[in-house]
Symmetry: C2
Subunit: 253 residues, 2 copies
Amino acid sequence: MIPRGRLKYLRSLRLRKNREREGLFVAEGLNVIEDAVRSGHAKELLLVEEAEGLPRVKELVARGIPAHRLEPKDVGQLAETRTPSGVFALVKDPCRPLAGARLPAQALVLVAAGVRDPGNLGTLIRTAAALGAAAVLVTAGTVEPLNGKVVRATAGALFRIPVLLGETAGLREAGFTLYVADAGGEPVSSWRARPARLALAVGNEPRGIDAGVRALAAGAVGIPLEAGVESLNVAVAAGILLHAIRALPVVPA
Amino acid sequence: MIPRGRLKYLRSLRLRKNREREGLFVAEGLNVIEDAVRSGHAKELLLVEEAEGLPRVKELVARGIPAHRLEPKDVGQLAETRTPSGVFALVKDPCRPLAGARLPAQALVLVAAGVRDPGNLGTLIRTAAALGAAAVLVTAGTVEPLNGKVVRATAGALFRIPVLLGETAGLREAGFTLYVADAGGEPVSSWRARPARLALAVGNEPRGIDAGVRALAAGAVGIPLEAGVESLNVAVAAGILLHAIRALPVVPA
């Protein structure tokens, strides 16, 4: 059984400032937790009694992650979802600062520049991981990647792709060519090649990309839309652009 | 001022069975309401006093839509969002049955076959409208399109693209070739042309497409993903497929 003081500590991680101080957060749901365990980020499991018998849970316990029993009445102390699974984990923050991160010589990096909606940021991270981006850069103006809604929307991708914290200017300094995604930009279908190190920035819906980020960009790239339609969802737009750019040859240096 | 009985009636439309009986629902938020007004679906505006002065609201009132004042204490009776704008409208259901719907000879139709998440269905409708699909077919196993979360996620697209209710078999009967979206399907990048009438079905996350729908399909089409990544968000996948298919020439009949 989990000691009361421990439960209080875990509960304190619902606040961002505590997550940042401790470098830890509580993840919820088996899919995300399995990825946290596989990537070596899970420190401790918290389980209701019925969950202990699940084969997928047994496999996690067999990997040597310490497990504590959670009383059903305490689930609400940790859960953020309406239908909690009764499976939680204390997890190390996988995000790293951009400064000092090593990125491949050939890399496509997605920049979340001012994305405020947690579901959108999570889906962006999931999309970038699925479509072979080298990393996702999360700027200070973007929602915190350890927000519970973000983590759930990544569907585990938070532990499968490097999530870097920093500003777009830092990528420029690392030799990346920056393009901003914009419905009015050059159609991506007109691109024939891509720079070896390319950063693609997406912004806030519906405000778009900050002027400061735009000023750093080599140009804007977009997806032609039907007349009268203002924009695509930011994660849908990023998916279309990453899929199209990924298929292009790299410009020789 | 809105009579109490009227408020009770509007509130009753929070239940699906009442929406279906009346063919009406209450929409929330200025963007969606503007599209409802433009398309001739809005019957009545409900506004808090402060909203009456907004230029965008004045424009709607000037179009002759009757407006009623809502007391701040009654906003919670109609609002589903945490930060309601104080602008609501009584709106006619724009969805129509597939049977009897006229579709162009050349048409790409997106089929939501068993999509359970309201945000995903709304984003699918928004994506289909932005990328030039002729219609969205919503099957019985999919979440109701008038669900408040769906309507908000469409960002007004519910009024800009025909949303049809029916089953996939009905499209087959209308001469559509059906493909199902599946990560393991033929890569869309290998397609060189598309049938004049093409229906693309997306399904439930993570269960995928029902066997009954699969059995009707000419094949499966997908997006190659990085190793270890199970799937894309359904709206992101649909966006990538629609964008790629839209650019293809039509196979001569």
